[in-house]
């Protein structure tokens, strides 16, 4: 393995262990899993599609909240403690370091969200209503595709969220800044960007590009659940890609200029 690959793998492992090894991490992850499984249990009799729609509402808030709660300190701690300076002096490039942190965070948050949704799918399989034959044969009730799409798209939603969290972690000068910034990021992603787009009456595709949360909703409702036939899927994916690339680019630039 190349030196860069070895260093990056070490950074990924460290990030994963930092996240899963902290008591705060367990509380956050436990809370997220409990919320997903609780809703799945309550919604299971309605079948896969109904459960996916019920979960979507919660996941729009839960994914950014978990991402921010687990990740806002990662780069910030390394900067404030001098560990980032030690990394750089050892010849670790900002890109290698950020990729390692990014992959580690996406892995953990993705596993928490994806894992709990996979279990939720099993709960629906076991608990969906069976007595009415025509309901049981309806794709909305009996076809698990909606839930499987929800799993995949939720993991995808983790990517722009983690990119924004890393930007926050590099931007903050102190822990207090990071906590304030965390609230702002969650607020923006969950409500703010949607609200701004609605107030300014921008067309739906533009709104979906501007708001990662709206993009997630669009993708789940269009591709996953199939409730919306003509949602701007391409715009949603473009929005995610843009948010991710811009956030990572600004993070890299800012991190490279600081000891």
């Amino acid at each position: 393995m190349s030196r860069r690959g070895r260093a990056q793998l070490a950074i990924v492992r460290r990030e994963i262990r930092s996240l899963v090894g902290s008591p705060t991490g367990w509380v956050v992850m436990g809370g997220a899993v409990a919320a997903v499984l609780g809703i799945a249990t309550l919604s299971a009799p309605g079948g896969y599609q109904a459960t996916a729609v019920d979960l979507l509402v919660v996941l729009e808030v839960l994914v950014p909240a978990v991402g921010v709660a687990l990740g806002y300190r990662a780069v910030l701690h390394d900067r404030l403690s001098g560990e980032w300076a030690v990394h750089r002096a050892m010849g670790v490039r900002p890109r290698t370091y950020l990729q390692g942190v990014f992959i580690g965070q996406v892995t953990v948050v993705g596993l928490v969200i994806g894992g709990s949704l996979t279990v939720a799918t099993a709960i629906v399989a076991a608990g969906r209503a069976r007595p009415v034959a025509f309901l049981a044969s309806s794709p909305a009730v009996a076809d698990p595709t909606a839930m499987l799409w929800l799993v995949g798209l939720s993991i995808g939603y983790v990517v722009p969220i983690v990119a924004l969290v890393m930007l926050l972690s590099v931007w903050a000068q102190r822990r207090r800044d990071a906590i304030v910034g965390a609230v702002v990021v969650v607020g923006l992603v969950v409500i703010g960007l949607d609200a701004a787009a609605i107030v300014t009456a921008v067309p739906l595709p533009v709104m979906v590009v501007l708001s990662p949360g709206a993009g997630y909703r669009t993708l789940v409702l269009t591709v996953g659940v199939g409730l919306s036939a003509q949602g701007p899927v391409t715009a949603a994916l473009l929005g995610w890609a843009t948010w991710t690339l811009v956030a990572v680019g600004v993070t890299l630039r800012r991190l490279g200029a600081r000891p």
Partner: protein
Amino acid sequence: MTVTAISAVGLTLTRGGRQLCVDCDLELPVGELTVVVGPNGSGKTTLLQTLAGLRTPTAGRVVHHVDPPLGYLPQRPAFRAGFTVAETLEYYRQLAPAGGRASVPALLERVGLGGRADDPVDGLSGGMMRLFAVGVALIGDPPVLLLDEPTGGLDPQMRDAIVAIVSEEREGGRAVVLVTHGLGAIDPLVDRVVVMGEPASVTVGAKDTLCEQTGTGTLEGLYRQLTEVGP
């Protein structure tokens, strides 16, 4: 012949709009110990970070004539919680280009933390944390060591341990740069001195030459003379 590990040419540093040094030339030869001294806030840490390549100078340039890694000790080192002392050092060994020749246990033994391998790294005392951070700086066999206040806040035994390590590294052919206020302990080892006075006056030279020019016999006397801090 003197071999230079790091050189700075026409270096100008500013922080918060204040000039710390102007058009300063500096060479850090291998096998020599250079000490950076100056009053609090004179820019010693900024200079060290610039030499390490962590900061971009306002003007001028820093040239590294050696390949990474550079061993760097931050002023107030701390490490991520949730890992043991040995795990943290192993992590840094994996980041080093050659993986580091010294084994983790051997290095911990060297910095006096052989019995602490399985302790949580965030549970080390301030002094032990500093010793450990010196171990981290050494892990990749760096040709250059840049140490910010390595003896700050240490008891005499720990301070002596750090001074002994610095001496061995210098003898082993590394270029060592120290920022320190503990001048007495390292005085006999020092080859070159960078005195950062105010405002932005920087004096650079061989210790013996500067002592001769100023008529002082010790590093502390030289420091007091050049920074005009009377006894």
